[in-house]
Symmetry: C2
Subunit: 291 residues, 2 copies
């Protein structure tokens, strides 16, 4: 069994991006600039945005955080988005979700100019992905594709099972791996809460992608010997033996499965860091598209 090391791979990607940014700067080009809109003071959102700012600094991007109080009106938020759409200094931006309940998340997503939608959440970009057109693929599926690519995992003709049909992970993953691309050309089966015989489907998978948010759900009995296992889940479990009081657990029972499969992503250090690196890749692309 070999670890698909997301930490190391994402570090390599960040170094590649940093090298490209240095080159852009040397040639007098525009420094890529990511903005993040943060509404309110949700603890997890604060952390995610802080990480994004740190990632930008590390690769030489500029970054801007637009902080708005959780009392901001929907219209005010939409106005700020319109400003970011117009602002040529900003190459791409994200609105950190969730937004407060009085704001319609869908309206927010729709307000973002698809050319600056580096999260890849707006319908036009999702549609472009489906149609195989240039787009921003959302961060987690993009990171998984990158991991499969860099580890040169053979995907063509393989049976791939995706567990979970969320709009930001499972569904795009199923679409991307079905397409006539490399990685891609898999025979993909998409499983979800209404599926039957889930274990049997999983056992038939050459590539198994678990994205349902249920800790340790995938046991050894659900994995074909030699399968490639990608674990998107990341759940905090109380753990008194840790200083932090918790540990992070994936959807896959790593101990049980790791002996049986050919490749596996650990949690943490697998898909998570790849997701972070993807946002940087999309921002660089947004900057290069304009020039």
């Amino acid at each position: 069994m070999q670890i698909l090391d997301g930490k190391q791979t994402s570090e390599q990607i960040r170094q590649e991006i940093a090298a490209q940014v240095r080159k852009i700067k040397e040639q007098g080009g525009k420094t890529p600039h990511l903005a993040a809109v943060l509404v309110g003071h949700d603890g997890a959102s604060e952390t995610y945005v802080a990480n994004k700012v740190r990632d930008c600094e590390e690769v030489g991007f500029e970054s801007t955080v637009v902080r708005l109080p959780d009392t901001v009106s929907e219209q005010e938020l939409l106005d700020r988005i319109a400003e970011l759409n117009e602002n040529d200094a900003i190459d791409g931006f994200i609105v950190q979700l969730p937004v407060p309940r009085h704001i319609d998340e869908h309206k927010v997503t729709l307000a973002i100019d698809p050319a600056k939608d580096v999260d890849g959440f707006c319908p036009a970009n999702v549609g472009n992905m489906c149609l195989g057109l240039p787009t921003y693929v959302s961060a987690t599926p993009n990171g998984i594709m990158e991991l499969l690519s860099r580890y040169e995992i053979e995907t063509e003709g393989k049976n791939c099972v995706v567990l979970g049909r969320s709009n930001i992970v499972g569904t795009p993953m199923a679409i991307l791996l079905s397409r006539n691309t490399a990685p891609g050309n898999c025979t993909v089966t998409l499983l979800h809460s209404r599926s039957r015989d889930i274990a049997a489907h999983c056992r038939a998978a050459d590539i198994l992608i678990a994205a349902i948010g249920r800790p340790n759900y995938v046991g050894a009995d659900m994995v074909k010997p030699g399968a490639v296992v990608i674990d998107v889940g990341i759940t905090r479990i109380a753990d008194d033996s840790r200083k932090s009081g918790f540990r992070l657990v994936g959807d896959v029972d790593f101990e049980a499965v790791s002996d049986k499969c050919s490749f596996i992503t650990p949690v943490p250090g697998g898909v998570g860091p790849m997701t972070r690196a993807s946002l940087l890749q999309n921002t660089l692309k947004a900057c290069q598209r304009k020039s």
Copy 2:
């Protein structure tokens, strides 16, 4: 075995639409108006557009055909599309594909206002479909969903195999049947030219949708007893015994398969007429959305 009668069902849909149009007119509302842009003189395209005009007449819609010579420049075509986007009299329109080679089909699709894109081909509408948002679903997948719905075929938790990953049939079909809707909630496997063990996958299908354009490809050995079989294929085969000199053949070997399955669409008279009715449904929706 029961026939999924697309001819009869589409006739019923047309009658329902006609009744709605009469009601709209009685109440002084706007008559739905579909426009079709036809470039050049491709025989099949002429027929398709003529059928669309006839369908409109039958249900009481207005229709307009914009005929352009095959020498039309890309810019001229885009200008005509812009006019149709702006023209409040036109609720929805389609550009009959293919367009001549000197015109970029993708640019054409992108130029259509998503609110008038009753073919459902533009990225924003494809993305909306993926995300489960209000949209125009393209005609063939929409027609199949309608057929499953009107025959009250149970889909939840069923294994569905879609044969063929085209942008206008296979891929949207796989997405639609995976979603948390009714019809929907299937466990969908999407097969294509790079898939292996195609027959074995098909044999596991409770619902089999064949959309690869290979006449009689699906034999009885590929069908599970009691399966629901949807045949999207329609290929002209030379046949001297027919006055026309040809007959239409689906992707499914109807003679062999029909004894084994629970439901099956015939060719012709199955998916084809449902596809035509879908365009009318989308045009009515476009008209109602505006008011």
